[in-house]
């Protein structure tokens, strides 16, 4: 296209200036206008137009900026379209608002869900601890019932059950009711070991009626009766106690539950010793048969090993508490009576025990003192277990509440800032 006015340097300058000025318009519109202006100049100016003529034509045409403004006024929706930089800034502002909101919501949700699961775990621990306390009480009542039942069997079953045994059975039933109530709801979500041990214990409790009926109707030997109680019911309680020690999540609870379970087993062993010798001394004549002697010796050995287990998991204060609580004249006398009986029975098996210093009532009383002293310590551990579980639960509750409220406040603050930032986005 040589030889037209469009090649004039002034025209070229004007058109390129116009090109730049129309940058804000849609491309098609800008192209059309440029084409119209070029055609206008081409028509208006001959190929040989001089600088002055060209300048005059351009001057009549108006400045590129005015032309662009005139074209822009007609263009599209009212109000100027936001420049790209403003759009970008709006987008950035949205990101600045959205990112902290989403982050806070996510972190808050994670925190709350972790606190909620701690809270639920503390709730489970608390229920297991309460159940364990009920089981310890049941275990005591079972020991008494077992020992008195053994004496009843040793006396030949004939007489009506003693008031002491009746009372012991009533106490056992009450404790069993408490355990069943505390066990309700413990199942799904709890550690399987504890759930399984609890099922065993509840089955043992259900067996009690049959065991009692058997004591009255048939001639269970005392030693067999003790074994039935120990294996079927008391052993199940011990298994549950040990399972709680493994099941609870809190480490302090774990230590207490484990010490308690060990000491409860030692108490059971003491009870077996009391029962065996009480039954032997209650018989007419008093005799400690060799199979019962071996049960007695086994129980004494088990007691020592369970006390060792207690010492290995108990704190120094708890160990000291045991040493100072389970002591005194009665404890010493019971211990020496047992040794005396063992010696006599070992020296002359199946021969009646000499009455020398060995009397059923005195033995039962003295050994009961030892057992009661031990129960003082298990009782202390019981209340410690309860209070630790309660403390852990209330901590978990507080933590859950705190993280919930903190997250809420954070989200609120961010929402408020988002609302405040809205006008900036316009």
């Amino acid at each position: 296209m040589s030889g037209t006015a469009l090649d004039h340097w002034l025209v070229r300058g004007y058109l390129s200036e116009l090109d730049a000025a129309l940058g804000g318009l849609p491309a098609a519109q800008a192209r059309e206008l440029k084409e119209q202006i070029a055609a206008h100049l081409d028509d208006a100016l001959g190929p040989d137009a001089g600088d002055q003529e060209v300048a005059a034509a351009l001057s009549r045409l108006g400045s590129p900026a005015d032309l662009a403004a005139e074209a822009g006024a007609a263009c599209g929706p009212p109000g100027p379209r936001p420049a790209r930089s403003i759009r970008r800034m709006r987008w950035r502002l949205a990101v600045v608002i959205a990112v902290p909101l989403v982050t806070a919501a996510t972190l808050g949700a994670l925190r709350i869900s972790s606190e909620a699961s701690s809270y639920a775990a503390a709730g489970r621990d608390q229920r297991l601890a309460r159940l364990d306390v009920a089981v310890v009480t049941l275990s005591r009542d079972l020991e008494d019932e077992c020992d008195l039942s053994a004496a009843y069997a040793a006396r030949g079953h004939a007489r009506p059950v003693s008031p002491a045994l009746s009372r012991a059975r009533t106490a056992t039933d009450a404790a069993a009711g408490t355990v069943r109530a505390a066990a309700a709801g413990i199942g799904a979500g709890y550690p399987p070991g504890a759930v399984h041990a609890l099922a065993g214990l509840l089955a043992g409790i259900a067996d009690l009626k049959t065991i009692r009926a058997g004591i009255s109707s048939s001639a269970f030997p005392a030693s067999q009766l003790i074994r039935i109680y120990t294996v079927n019911v008391i052993g199940a309680a011990d298994t549950f106690g040990a399972a709680v020690g493994n099941a609870v999540g809190d480490t302090r609870l774990q230590a207490t539950a484990t010490s308690l379970a060990a000491l409860l087993r030692a108490e059971n062993d003491q009870s077996v010793q009391r029962a065996i010798l009480y039954a032997a001394l209650s018989a007419h004549p008093p005799v400690l048969f060799s199979e019962n002697l071996s049960v007695l010796q086994q129980a004494a050995t088990d007691e020592r090993s369970n006390l060792t287990a207690f010492n290995s998991s108990a704190s120094l204060a708890e160990q000291k508490l045991y040493a100072t609580t389970v002591s005194g004249a009665a404890v010493d006398i019971a211990s020496s009576s047992e040794i005396l009986a063992e010696q006599q029975a070992a020296a002359r098996p199946s021969v009646p025990l000499t009455r020398d210093g060995l009397d059923a009532g005195t033995w039962y009383r003295d050994m009961s003192t030892t057992i009661d002293d031990t129960r003082k310590v298990t009782g202390r551990l019981d209340s410690q277990l309860s209070s630790q579980a309660d403390t852990a639960r209330s901590h978990a509750t507080r933590n859950l509440l705190f993280s919930g409220i903190a997250t809420l406040i954070l989200l609120l603050v961010l929402l408020i800032s988002a609302v405040l930032a809205r006008p900036l986005r316009r």
Partner: protein, 117 residues
């Protein structure tokens, strides 16, 4: 003080009447760009700058009052010719009626001979 009809006021006035004037010229016969600009410029004081005619033409076309087509007159190069549409004629007729009344009213007020009713 409100701005009187100085250069700014006159520009606004021109902007308002330029469209009908373009339609009136095209009503006579189709014209190409430069032709149209020259005829408008011939009427004293109607155009401040030649360029403004083109954006105006595009607006009228977008409104459906004007069409454009390429024509090849013998011996000349191809040019874009603008012609009035039926809608453009109607719009022009309406403006003529409005303008007659409007200019009479404005003239009357300006000459202090407004109808006192």
């Amino acid at each position: 003080m409100c701005r009187m009809a100085g250069e700014g006021g006159l520009t606004e006035l021109r902007r308002g009447v330029l469209g009908p004037c373009v339609l009136a010229l095209l009503e006579v016969r189709p014209r190409f760009g430069l032709e149209l600009v020259r005829d408008l410029a011939a009427a004293d004081g109607l155009l401040t700058s030649d360029g403004t005619v083109y954006p105006l033409l595009n607006r009228l076309r977008d409104a459906g009052l004007v069409t454009s087509e390429w024509r090849d007159e013998e011996g000349e190069r191809a040019r874009r010719y603008y012609s009035i549409t039926e809608a453009g004629r109607q719009s022009l007729a309406a403006f003529r009626a409005d303008w007659a009344r409007f200019s009479a009213t404005v003239g009357g007020v300006l000459n202090h001979t407004a109808v006192r009713s």
